[in-house]
């Protein structure tokens, strides 16, 4: 509030700007150009005005995919954030076990998306998969290739399996930065476990938790590989999330115009949500 901002330092990022222009801005501009035209190949384009946007906004396809996407991101955030915090609270603070647990927790994060997808694709199968076979032997009819609810459960549990440790590690880092004096003061005041969590640990974790929420939201909102490998967007369209639908449209049907319009709207939603998260995060920092 008190100092004026000197913007001249921004000239120092010009080299990065050139790189980003080459790898992101110019391709994005091309997508914008595609969105207003139609093509039948050979790089010949026909002006279509706002037609693609109008079609997409009026069709159920994009809205349904967006709905599924928001539901998916909402569900995995609602599970992963509390679960990650719970795990972090129960991780050993020091000693050999702290290191062992840290390594174990980071293992799922090192596995590539398509491998995670393949693991769960096989794990859940009724004929040869451990999970699918066991569930069916216990009399629970489970088949993620036919039942939309089972497909959803599989994709959600897979994401929780893959990414909860990221939240846990971030929350753990936040917890480790709390000085012992805070806990000693709380003990002198005979604060309950809940009050220690509510008034010491949670506020101190807020910054990293916001980062965790932002990262998990962005990643889940753009998720492609894992559900593509496991369910391929099925059964029917039950797990066709935004990016799966977009790839179907752009590369499956080669409808470049509608796909470009689709991806621009997708991009705008991501931009809006990232901006909200970023603003909340920087304002948390400023208040200390």
């Amino acid at each position: 509030m008190e100092k004026t901002v000197n913007h001249k330092a921004w000239f120092l990022v010009l080299p990065v700007l050139v790189l980003v222009a080459f790898s992101a801005v110019i391709p994005l501009m091309t997508v914008v150009n595609y969105a207003f035209q139609d093509t039948f190949g050979n790089n010949v384009f026909f002006w279509n005005g706002l037609g693609w946007f109008e079609d997409l906004l009026a069709s159920d396809r994009m809205w349904n995919a967006l709905g599924r996407q928001l539901a998916f991101s909402g569900i995995i955030l609602a599970i992963e954030i509390p679960l990650g915090v719970f795990v972090a609270l129960n991780m050993p603070k020091r000693g050999v076990w702290a290191s062992v647990v840290l390594v174990l927790m980071s293992l799922p994060l090192l596995i590539p998306w398509n491998v995670v997808g393949t693991i769960w694709q096989i794990f859940g199968r009724v004929d040869i998969g451990l999970l699918g076979y066991t569930l069916n032997s216990m009399g629970i009819s489970y088949n993620y290739t036919q039942n939309p609810v089972h497909a959803w459960a599989t994709v959600v549990v897979m994401d929780v399996w893959h990414w909860t440790s990221l939240v846990a590690l971030l929350a753990y880092a936040g917890l480790q930065s709390i000085p012992d004096a805070y806990y000693q003061a709380a003990r002198i005041d005979q604060a309950s476990r809940w009050k220690v969590f509510r008034y010491i640990e949670l506020p101190k974790m807020m910054g990293v938790l916001m980062i965790a929420i932002l990262l998990r939201f962005m990643d889940s909102f753009m998720i492609y590989t894992e559900p593509f490998v496991v369910t391929g967007g099925g059964p029917g369209n039950a797990t066709t999330f935004l990016s799966i639908d977009l790839v179907k449209m752009a590369l499956g049907q080669f409808d470049l115009g509608p796909a470009a319009a689709f991806s621009l709207m997708y991009f705008l939603v991501i931009l809006l949500i990232s901006w909200v998260f970023y603003t909340v995060m920087t304002n948390l920092d400023k208040r200390g």
């Binding site: 509030m1 100092k3 913007h7 001249k8 901006w275």
Partner: protein, 91 residues
């Protein structure tokens, strides 16, 4: 440049965006400012307000297109202009 499939309207659009960015960069260097806190309760500079304006305008245009149809689209720009004025005055 042919591979980028340029059209006159999209070219005009990008030229306007580029001019806006250049104008605001020059303004920020020539007339340094202090960030202020507006109705959103967040600190914003002129550049932030430009970003909020542009992003909001994109959504206004899409909403207008979805509700009113393409024939009346230029009117959405009028709303955007009003929205821009509101953002620059109060955010």
């Amino acid at each position: 440049m042919a591979w980028m499939a340029w059209t006159t309207p999209t070219a005009i659009f990008f030229v306007i965006i580029a001019l806006l960015l250049v104008t605001f960069s020059v303004l920020a260097i020539r007339f340094p400012e202090t960030p202020r806190r507006g109705v959103l309760g967040i600190e914003t500079t002129r550049g932030d307000r430009l970003f909020i304006t542009l992003l909001g305008s994109a959504f206004i245009n899409l909403a207008w297109l979805g509700v009113m149809g393409a024939a009346l689209q230029p009117w959405a720009l009028l709303i955007c202009l009003f929205y821009a004025a509101v953002v620059f005055r109060w955010v």
